[in-house]
């Protein structure tokens, strides 16, 4: 029992640290991105954990540089790789695999350069 409690006590700070590092990596990447950002409305996210599930699916699309979901704003921001185009049908399939729904006609484009 003591061993298990010790493992749990070590695991909690380790997981929090890992989360923090993921956030820093994303921030660094964001600063160097020089491509188009697309913003979509996505329904069905109801907690912070949903964001990671959606991003994991969306990031499998080869044309996507990175993505960031917001469960509070019901938004998915996507940065498309330079000289690539996003297949919105593929995006819709990926969002569905995450158990969410892409709101059609919700795309907004923003040039960051």
């Amino acid at each position: 029992m003591k061993t298990l409690i010790t493992i749990i006590l070590i695991a909690i700070p380790a997981l929090i640290y890992a989360q923090s590092e993921n956030g820093h990596a994303y921030q660094a990447e964001k600063k160097t991105a020089q491509t188009d950002t697309l913003t979509f409305t996505v329904y069905g996210m109801d907690c912070p954990g949903c964001e990671g599930g959606l991003e994991k699916q969306v990031n499998k699309i080869p044309a996507i540089e990175y993505s960031q979901a917001s469960w509070v704003n019901q938004e998915l921001k996507i940065v498309v790789k330079p000289d690539s185009s996003l297949d919105t049908d593929e995006l819709e399939r990926r969002v569905k695999k995450a158990n969410f729904t892409l709101h059609k006609g919700s795309k907004k484009r923003k040039n960051e350069e």
Binding site: M1, L4, I5, I8, A11, I12, L15, I16, Q19, N22, G23, T41, Y43, G44, D46, C47, P48, G49, E51, G52, G53, L54, K56, Q57, S70, W71, V72, N73, Q74, K96, K97, A98, N99, F100, T101, H103
Partner: protein, 267 residues
Amino acid sequence: MKNKIVPILLLTLLFQAELSAGGISVDAGLTPPQDRFMFRTQYRYMSMHNGLMTMNTHMVPMVLAYGITSGFTLMARGMYVHRADENNSMVNRGVNDLFVLSKFRLLRKNTASYSFGIAPYLASNLPVGSTEISNRTWNPEIGFNISFRPRFFAIDMSTSYVITDISGKLVNNPGNVYMINTAFSALIPFKSNSEFAISPVLEGSYLNQQAGGGNPSNEILFASPGVSFIYSNLALEGLVQLPVYQDKNLGSPDQNARLILGIKYMF
């Protein structure tokens, strides 16, 4: 010693079903996204007494769920159990049966103002646990989850029926079990960081164990306030299960308040 054998037998038989009495927030809700893992571990403390003795149980369940597709999830749960009476004169400890569950998405509707879903499941223990903890019988379970989530609130329900000892191996079969778990929760995001949220929850857990093998029926209702702190894919959770109603048949033990502390990580 002899006068303790019957009470401890009854407490042991009841214990198997009591493990399933909810907390925290209707395990894993609906089906997770495809290719998504969910790991959860908890510390659970429960205590019951029947006039002659008190049984204290400490448990550490570990759960791993995986979304094979967005509509089909597999889950496995292992659990370490340490159980002893108040004098530590009777101690049982070891790993309990492995529990496996498959869940299917029957319905999922997402709109701007709410999401709603229904997911039935089939489950069973695999009777491979330590003989000190497990009675090594097959106990298949059927049930379903319903989830209604209007934006920053959530109402989740799970109901299930467990067929105890389907092969009829036990002389003192404690009877089949019917359970309903409900959870009402709010998710309050921190404005500066949407990855961080706090979620107060009130759960209700009803468990009805039918009479069987000479054992009386057992019925109990818990009201359980709790809270989760969620940071991105990580959640820390705590819950106190308070017995607000107990059926007092002959030999039924009194349930004391229970404590659940847990951590959940998704990746």
